[in-house]
Symmetry: C2
DNA sequence: GCTTGACTTGGAGTGCGCTCGAAGTCCCAG
DNA sequence: CTGGGACTTCGAGCGCACTCCAAGTCAAGC
């Protein structure tokens, strides 16, 4: 498979594939007599997995560590596992944070919905000052 | 409250606060006779909310739209609600994707764990070629 | 009155992850 | 044999979101 086809199949651009190869995320593929890259389909699985690492927010630097271990092959499994486990914790934390922020978003949207559907001038009025929040009775900045 | 204190309280740097003001995320604060910014505590709530938008992946450009409506004040509630509702859908989608990728991660980690704890040379051997995947019996690239 | 440190502005620099362009080579259909 | 399209390399450019620097002002404590 040449780069154009791999691009179509993987969803990456040919530019990006070459870029990934340059930085070491993708292994050097075989080249045919004209110097054209010739990929094995198995690369698609690896690209898919890279996409998942990326989608879960792993920085390229970390993917690079993982990719290097993968290149090395046997004997690096434990290290790869550790990388993945640490990353999994990051993902779990993000998930938790996202859920929390989502609920804040829900609350806020519900507030807008209530204020607007009621055409409530008082509540709508409040929306500029500090944006709705229920705990608005904050103390002023005190001299420490 | 001056910028340094706001920085400490909000967790943003003074640089970032000025930057946010420049681009329009934060309203122009009052300035004292020396030209120093003087913030009301209520800004902290807004910064907190901005942080939540950011944490949920809203691009600055979109925050800007929201911030501009908030500045305008009354009469922009419906638009703000729409922005938030659309964003909420993005967040839900991210959450779903993250959960899915997390489970892939779990599977992969479990695979490493099994292969390593068994010291299984066959399975470990497989980990370089295409990284463990169960569905390894892929057809070769066919001529379309 | 002098030092220290927090503040001001404008603009330049950074890090990440691509993304694109230029110039050239190669293969194949018509 | 010619035109078109896919490929090659190298290096520059981009968009985002900061982050920092330089040069200057100002207020308070010693």
């Amino acid at each position: 498979m040449k780069i154009g086809k791999l691009a179509r199949r993987s969803g990456l651009s040919a530019h990006t594939i070459r870029y990934y190869e340059r930085i070491g995320l993708l292994p050097q593929p075989d080249k045919n007599t004209s110097g054209h890259r010739d990929y094995d389909v198995s690369i698609l699985k690896w690209i898919d997995f890279l996409g998942r690492l990326k989608a879960t927010g792993m920085p390229v630097r970390e993917m690079l560590r993982y990719a290097a271990l993968r290149e090395t092959g046997d004997g690096t499994e434990a290290e790869r596992q550790v990388i993945l486990e640490i990353h999994r914790e990051h993902v779990r934390a993000r998930l938790a944070g996202l859920r929390q922020n989502l609920s804040v978003l829900d609350t806020k949207i519900a507030f807008y919905a209530a204020a607007i559907s009621a055409g409530d001038p008082v509540k709508c009025k409040g929306t500029k000052e500090d944006d709705h929040d229920p705990e608005r009775d904050e103390q002023r900045d005190r001299p420490l």
